[in-house]
Symmetry: C2
């Protein structure tokens, strides 16, 4: 635990249990469900300082701080959340929940289906971004939060923030969508399909019921993660970091040992580590939710019409070397907001960090977030 | 068979058998080997009209024409090779061989190792681009070709053409490298590593000895091909072709049938078809050869020094939406050639076809090739 840089310190996940049935967009129903979440800072009496953080594909409710004294890695967005940080917990009450269908404690494929007493596995319903928004609204009501001072997220989290602003306009005062898009392109979907195909073609996938059968499709998940991870980095960033350097072997004539480039070694390590930590069904559900996301779906695919209903003040930011959701996709959102007459700040952060840019240190990015967040919450 | 568009018509692959040992850069030795090849047109008496076509990752010696009357698909570069076509077989004698280590008839992992009487499998030596060039030179000598009027290739084929110009300057009068690069980037290597990892983690891989064990790692090869194929297409090209259209299922509320986007269906089909046609060991060897390629390796990574030895007239072409080997990589080659004082024509073809651009119809591209090829061969 490193408290020197403005950490929220030790945090303990909470569990909210809901007995009211939850109906997905698909029509599938959970008769009861749980959401795991963390909060940082204090909700004020007026209830006007609450901020929701929405996580992306491989994220969780653990956005900031540490789970134990020995914990070396803080939450996934510790960079931005803490006392004196851009999302300042001295002023704001920050909430982050694990999405429904995920694998870090909220009801999902790796939790028990009450009807069968077995893990849900492949039988867990497919969530959509709008379903997550409705379930997060339940959590807000459970926490006596009347309205969000801001809903904030990057990538898939940014899509949730945008969906919040469209589906519950009077709930969202400010909306921050980082490295997001109004919907996926064919290329985006294709990368997700390859990741899913890797998982579904692993013999240990067992049609999604690997937990009940005591197996884990780690090979498929590792491959899926390697594909994903690669698309989060920029070509230039990878060249700077790995180049053509070898990790093992040599090019000396007569040396027949296996060559392993640094970048290969890195990707294998990332894939292997992730494959034992992340649930395969969740990866399939999350990538499906990404593919199915279309912000303007209820507005005949008219993005201006969709955003016209929003009442939020928007910050839209993209990252120059992000080729998964490139700046052009954020510009589409900005232009639709302008056409709808909505207040919007747009910034394109110059970085070699690719799509991962929204998670990594960058002085301009952090200064932008800090400056813009001054308008969020009670003054 | 369609003869209406200037086809070379029926062609029959030939086999050249070499009893002289072939030593790879790694030091591994084949005591004898075979190369399968096709030729189109006639070698003239002066021997100054011979053109070598080098194939890319999934190509073969079958570059043009048909193998039977019933054959519906011509060779992989029928677009460019034939009577009256850019590589005009009325004038030129065109040779294309299957690379050593490939799976279409030349000695490779799916042929018999004379020492064991079993398929080579994973024991076949790792070839490098410069090894292919030396083996192609043997074939040229076998065919009594004194020198190439041109060596031509796209992608990995373009790398062979460049290596020819550097390793055997007096053999190469013209060199055409399309959609190529002087070496792979970390991102390029990472995509290849994911493809290999998909194959090597398939339980039917059997450490490369799947043929001897009566198995085929089709799941891994299908995934590898899906990854590769995706990187050959451009994001815009995919959006135009597939968009977000569904192939199966619907988004209607209550419809729980599986959604399949057009692009998913397309990639699955491409992967499945390829997985039964292409040898897994060859895919591993070919991607390794790509990763290991560095045109200036023997010149202390100095590209200008490497190209200074060449005596060819060069045509370098890139394709605007190619993100696997983007225009910048061709510009590196062009600039090194200019710095070395070599004659070079450079063109960047405006297209949405991505890396596949060098294989697909495009009036500007075809006109460029036709015009430039006028300088090749006897006038």
């Amino acid at each position: 635990m490193n408290l020197s840089d403005g950490s929220v310190g030790l945090v303990t996940p909470q569990v909210a249990h809901f007995d009211e049935p939850f109906t997905f967009s698909s029509g599938a129903v959970l008769h009861s469900h749980e959401l795991v979440y963390e909060t940082y800072g204090q909700l004020n009496h007026a209830g006007d300082n609450a901020v929701l953080i929405c996580h992306a594909l491989s994220g969780s409710h653990h956005a900031a701080g540490y789970h134990s004294e020995e914990d070396r890695r803080p939450g996934w967005w510790d960079l931005a959340i803490g006392p004196g940080k851009p999302i300042d917990t001295n002023r704001l009450y920050v909430v982050c929940s694990n999405n429904l269908g995920c694998c870090d404690g909220s009801s999902g494929p790796n939790t028990i289906n009450p009807a069968t007493k077995e893990p849900w596995g492949g039988a867990f319903p497919q969530p959509q971004v709008k379903d997550w928004v409705r379930s997060q609204k339940r959590l807000a009501e459970h926490l006596n939060i009347p309205r969000w001072a801001a809903v904030i997220g990057g990538s898939l989290g940014g899509m949730q923030a945008l969906q919040w602003a469209v589906d519950f306009p009077d709930w969202v005062e400010h909306c921050i969508a980082l490295a997001a898009a109004p919907g996926l392109t064919a290329q985006n979907i294709a990368f997700n399909e390859i990741a899913r195909h890797a998982i579904l073609s692993d013999p240990d996938w067992c049609h999604g019921d690997y937990l009940a059968q005591g197996k884990l499709p780690t090979r498929g998940v590792a491959l899926a993660r390697m594909v994903g991870h690669l698309t989060y980095m920029s070509a230039d960033g990878m060249s700077d970091r790995f180049g053509r350097e070898l990790r093992e072997g040599s090019f000396a004539p007569g040396d027949n040992s296996e060559w392993v480039f640094q970048v290969e070694s890195y990707l294998r390590h990332q894939g292997a580590r992730f494959s034992t930590q992340f649930d395969a069904n969740t990866y399939v559900l999350m990538t499906r939710a990404l593919d199915l996301f279309e912000l303007a779906a209820d507005y005949k695919s008219d993005l201006v019409a969709a955003l016209s209903v929003a009442e939020a003040d928007f910050l839209i930011a993209s990252f120059s070397s992000d080729w998964r959701f490139p700046p052009q996709r954020s510009i589409e959102i900005r232009d639709a907001l302008l056409a709808a007459g909505k207040p919007v700040t747009y910034a394109n952060i110059d970085t070699d960090n690719g799509h991962d840019g929204f998670l990594l240190p960058n002085p301009t990015y952090e200064a932008l977030l800090s400056a813009w967040m001054c308008r969020v919450g009670p003054s």
